[in-house]
């Protein structure tokens, strides 16, 4: 049994929130470079160059990449041989969010109730997903999620008879509807299978995958490649103003499902697909 003081979680979460909102990960920077090289529209290229310039300014002057510094989504993979001491784990994560968003000059975008809507003024609470895994480590993944793209995400409860063609249509239809609203070029997370909530969670988790990496399952990898081509053929382009790069990646996760169902979730993310990991 390994003891971990929850203060360590708070401090990690806080510094990760600040870093992830100012410095885009290398995989995403590379994806943006590739997008810039392959974009055929002149206006599209100009916009992609602005996005690259934006990343430099954000990093050098410590101005958040996007003003929507998101609702913090936190994945915690907790080794089953870990014992947390010094307080409540969930409180420690939220204290890290509070500290990071306040000290890092990040925008507070969370309201306390979906209907009453008073801003909590410290961006808490986070949305936390826990899983227990073998070992004595804790892996923290943080993805602040902006709502321009989150609002364009969808869950489809397809029928088994809809098959893979149904899945392809669902993905394309979600991306078409998102259009300029989701700040393309997008990254698209897809969950196929499981239940209503499981597919949505897989779609969210798929966004944390390193851009450029593919699924280990051969047909899923092929589906990712085929759908990226199909999405880019839509012509939505950078900022939705037309062009050949509408998405930089599509990451798909799958899970066993019920004999009667084929759930599909499409979680759309903008070009600022922020994700950061740390292992304690």
């Amino acid at each position: 049994m390994r003891e971990i003081n929850v203060n360590e979680i708070t401090n990690s979460v806080s510094s990760m929130c600040i870093e992830v909102n100012h410095v885009l990960s290398n995989d995403m920077c590379l994806a943006l470079d590739n997008a810039c090289n392959s974009e055929k529209s002149e206006l599209g290229k100009q916009i992609l160059n602005q996005l690259k310039e934006n990343l430099i300014i954000a990093k050098e002057e410590m101005i958040p990449i996007c003003q929507d510094t998101g609702m913090a989504v936190v994945f915690l993979e907790i080794g089953q041989d870990v014992h947390f001491v010094g307080g409540n784990l969930e409180d420690a994560v939220n204290e890290g969010i509070r500290k990071g968003y306040t000290e890092g000059y990040l925008r507070k975008s969370v309201v306390d109730d979906p209907i009453i809507r008073n801003n909590t003024k410290d961006n808490t609470p986070a949305v936390i997903h826990y899983s227990v895994v073998p070992g004595d480590k804790v892996k923290i993944t943080i993805s602040p999620k902006g709502f321009g793209s989150e609002n364009m995400s969808k869950v489809y409860m397809l029928k088994p008879a809809d098959g893979i063609e149904g899945v392809k249509n669902a993905i394309l239809s979600a991306v078409k509807d998102a259009g300029p609203n989701a700040c393309p070029p997008m990254v698209i997370g897809v969950g196929i299978g499981g239940t209503f909530e499981k597919c949505a969670l897989m779609a969210k988790h798929a966004l944390t995958r390193k851009t450029g990496e593919h699924s280990d399952i051969p047909y899923v990898k092929e589906l990712e490649e085929e759908m990226l081509d199909k999405i880019n053929a839509l012509g939505i382009g950078p900022a939705g103003l037309g062009g050949s790069v509408t998405a930089m990646a599509i990451n798909i996760e799958t899970y066993p499902t019920h004999i009667a169902g084929l759930p599909v979730a499409v979680n759309i993310c903008c070009h600022v697909n922020r994700h950061i990991e740390r292992v304690i």
């Binding site: 925008r107 939705g240 037309g242 070009h271």
Partner: protein, 174 residues
């Protein structure tokens, strides 16, 4: 076509803007997003005056991140305009000059833009750090309690936008 325009604009300048024009704005604009629009609507329903005179002004749909010490503003890119569509035709009928945001609008908004000779610009979404460099002054002028959603008066210099919807009914989004 690339243009440099002072804001607020006159009628002629607005009429000459065409979907696809790349425009650098210099002058005064105001920010308002979801909560400020809701509150303005409630004020109008109660027969009260709006906290700012919107006639001929441009509203930028934006809620910035906090400014660091010595800075004018934090990250300051556009938010999705469509969420304001419920309130927009009414404001355009009252004389609102134009809007800056990103994303699609309803037909009702597009019709109100043509009817009132207005304009809808897009700024590049997710380029908040870059766009903040064109904002030289920022002052909260109403609804301070709304935090990032308060109404701000901004002074901008060469603020880059693209005309998405013009007064002739053209729209750049397909």
């Amino acid at each position: 076509m690339t243009k440099n325009i002072n804001v607020p604009m006159n009628e002629k300048e607005k009429e000459e803007l065409t979907a696809g024009d790349y425009v650098y704005l210099t002058g005064t604009i105001y920010t308002a997003r979801d909560a400020a629009h809701k509150r303005m609507q409630e004020a109008l329903e109660k027969g009260e005056k709006l906290p700012i005179d919107i006639v001929n002004q441009i509203i930028y749909y934006m809620g910035p991140s906090p400014a660091r010490e010595g800075k004018v503003i934090g990250s300051a890119g556009p938010t999705t305009a469509g969420r304001m569509d419920k309130y927009t035709p009414g404001l355009l009928d009252m004389g609102l000059g134009g809007m800056i945001g990103k994303g699609k609008r309803t037909q009702a908004v597009m019709d109100a833009i043509v009817k009132n000779g207005s304009v809808y610009f897009a700024a590049v979404g997710g380029a908040g750090a870059l766009l903040s460099k064109s904002i030289v002054k920022s002052e909260v002028v109403a609804y301070d309690d709304l935090g990032t959603e308060a109404i701000r008066k901004l002074e901008v210099e060469n603020f880059p936008v693209i005309v998405v919807a013009d007064s002739k009914g053209n729209c750049l989004y397909k």
